[in-house]
Amino acid sequence: MMENARRKFLKVAGISALGLSLGTKSVLNVFASADESADRRGKKTAAEITENKKALKAKHWGMVIDTRRLRTVGDLKPLIDVCHKIHNVPKFENSLHEIKWIWEDEYKHVFPTMESEYLADSIKHIPFLLLCNQCQNPPCVRACPTKATFQREDGIVMMDFHRCIGCRFCMAACPYGSRSFNFVDPRTGLDESGIFNEFPTRMKGVVEKCNFCAERLDVGKMPACVEASNGAIAFGDLEDPESDVRKLLKENFTIRRKQELGTEPSVYYIV
């Protein structure tokens, strides 16, 4: 009697186990086929996202500005104008609302720690071209709480306006004043017909700055200011010893802004 019961139990247990495993498999199959049909409906696609074939690439983008060739406000104006035009940078009467990507200032403000009373006349009063230094060690990126500003692999410090919450920590962190905050809707400072369609405007409440023309590099064009400078500004890969910028740096004495802060600017000035 006893043995009989055990035998029965084992039989039932075996069949149940078999049934369970088959059942689970079929259930899994149902899930799998649901996945496949989602595929066929186009939920998942085989589409691919790639870089533009013409994109210019570098390990670390850098710029060398030859101030010997950019002597007057008139020399700088076309560079500033073209940049502000293609990036839809607004103009406001009120200087507190000013937005700037690229601008000019005199030596004592640009290089405050290298100032002296008896500075050479040739640099004392000329305007210097200023833009975001695209630091190798960017303090703004460390300050940003949302990673709206970040450093690309090629060294460019970018703004993702979608993520910017307008806290302005980055502006406090930047030692160069390269960043501007949109206190008012920037479209009110743009001429309606003058909006450049290929680049978005910004909205009220975000911070903006120069992006080394990342959108142009990605489609194989040099930055707009470099193109407009007639060779007075060189642009290239700082890590490539054969690049134009490295050759210029080797042959000329250059300075960078507030070097002692350790931000490692990627913009060099030949003085």
Binding site: R41, G42, K43, T45, A46, A47, E48, I49, T50, E51, N52, K53, A55, F150, R152, M158, D160, F161, H162, I195, N197, E198, P200, T201, R202, M203, A214, L217, D218, V219
Partner: protein, 128 residues
């Protein structure tokens, strides 16, 4: 228990008031809008993905696009048939679909969504 009739009457009134919006609007649902295609979009026949997919998934697609473009600098989208597109709302999508009011806004209004794309991204001027 002497207030039974009053309580019941009160409950009925309460139910009527609470459900008022439902039966007042019964049968008055606004019809789902039909989007209008521009001539250019009609001629192209196919969008970058099948219409079905675009209708349901354009927002996810655009979300992927903006991250890839802004954060990774990847600006080219190659669809299954091997055709490539510049990943840009203003310059690719709205090049064909240049009728924002008829194409985008109609459905967005109907579903009560207010995407803030156009706070920054430029859309083509529509001729009336």
């Amino acid at each position: 228990m002497n207030d039974k009739s009053r309580i019941i009457a009160g409950l009925i009134i309460f139910l009527i008031v609470v459900t008022f919006p439902f039966w007042y609007n019964m049968g008055k649902a606004a019809p789902a809008p039909e989007t209008k295609l521009t001539d250019k979009a009609k001629q192209a026949k196919n969008c970058i993905q099948p219409t079905e997919y675009m209708r349901v998934g354009h927002m996810q697609l655009l979300n992927v696009w903006r991250n890839e473009v802004v954060r990774d600098g990847k600006r080219t989208y190659v669809n299954q048939s091997g055709k490539d597109f510049n990943m840009s709302l203003s310059n690719t999508c709205m090049d064909c679909h240049s009728n924002k009011a008829e194409f985008c806004d109609k459905c967005h209004d109907y579903t009560s969504t207010a995407p803030y794309c156009w706070d920054c991204h430029v859309y083509p001027k529509e001729s009336k």
